[in-house]
């Protein structure tokens, strides 16, 4: 079975990997897994500080079953095989914990001139954050 080029967008960060597809399922070989920051340890599948046990069917010779791995990590996965792309989103736990902590999540975005600004630049000042749109 040959490897195919694929893009996994990891919470907004596109990562080019080579994967296997079989019966409509994506399998992530070791090289792709490490590009995602995933490691296979005795404890199971580890990502950052989080380790989850490997349920049956998640690890096969051709690699990690991407959908099962995302499920085990509680991260939402959107896949388009035809477009050779998938988006791995933030888990609901991660977002809820961050917001419930009441520490405003930091962000860095450009202005029209392309200069970058971060929320943390405003420490020491009261901030009213207004999101709007042309739509």
């Amino acid at each position: 079975m040959s490897e195919q080029p694929f893009v996994i967008i990891d919470d907004g960060r596109p990562i080019e990997v080579s994967i296997h597809v079989d019966a409509g399922r994506v399998y992530v070989p070791a090289s792709a897994a490490s590009a995602l920051g995933w490691a296979l340890k005795p404890e199971g599948l580890c990502w950052g500080d989080v380790c989850v046990p490997l349920p049956p069917g998640m690890l096969e010779a051709r690699g990690l079953d991407l959908a099962r791995a995302a499920d085990a990590l509680c991260r939402p996965l959107a896949v388009d095989l035809g477009e050779a792309a998938a988006y791995l989103g933030a888990s609901v736990d991660e977002r809820c914990r961050a917001l419930a902590s009441l520490d405003a999540p930091d962000f860095t975005l450009p202005d029209l001139a392309g200069r970058l600004h971060s929320l943390r630049d405003q420490r020491g000042r009261k901030v009213m954050l207004v999101a709007y749109a042309s739509w």
Partner: protein, 194 residues
């Protein structure tokens, strides 16, 4: 200090608004709708107050700077403005942590799935694969029908006019199903809101 962020796919979409405002505050463009994900924003405008230590003092709210849209939105600008001034001046401490948490709407698993579909759609759109993008924008909207950063925010990217007939029908259907389009906090809504 105001930080204004346009949730727009292209800085050029936001430019007319920014240039008309001549802002002295940071006026930023969020082409990937990152803030909608991080802060669980489901529509615009969304306003948060953040204190000097970076703590959320007032969670996601809807308010307008003036009353030009009051007839359409049912929202008075004066209430939020008065509360804002009191907080900025130090006359009011803002909401307590338990009050903020009580009024926060936190995302669900399904809403995070919708964001993953939107994220994939946006990436495909950025690659010029608009048809494939469209399929995932639609999927995202089906998973989170109350999320207008997804349903209306993606309309231009689907070749639709966000001020046009498809949007008018969307908002008619939404209201007919008994839903509100804007979700102001209880004290912002006051008597004119729901």
């Amino acid at each position: 200090m105001v930080i204004a962020v346009a949730l727009d796919k292209d800085p050029e979409d936001a430019r007319p608004w920014i240039e008309a405002a001549h802002p002295t505050h940071p006026s930023l463009i969020d082409t990937e709708f990152r803030l909608a994900d991080l802060y669980h924003m489901v529509n615009v405008p969304t306003i948060l107050w953040i204190d000097e230590q970076g703590r959320i003092i007032r969670p996601n709210d809807v308010a307008f700077g003036d009353d030009r849209f009051r007839r359409v939105t049912g929202l008075d600008s004066v209430r939020h403005l008065a509360m804002l001034r009191a907080w900025v001046r130090g006359d009011s401490p803002g909401l307590t942590a338990p009050q903020v948490r009580a009024w926060q709407r936190l995302p669900t698993t399904t809403e995070q799935r919708a964001r993953a579909e939107f994220g994939l759609a946006k990436w495909l759109f950025d690659q010029g694969r608009t048809e494939a993008a469209g399929r995932h924008f639609v999927l995202a909207g089906e998973l989170a029908p109350h999320d207008f950063t997804i349903r209306r925010g993606s309309m231009r990217m689907q070749g639709l006019d966000p001020m046009g007939p498809e949007f008018r029908q969307m908002s008619k259907d939404w209201a007919a199903a008994g839903h509100r389009y804007y979700l102001p906090l209880p004290d912002t809504a006051g008597q004119n809101g729901e």
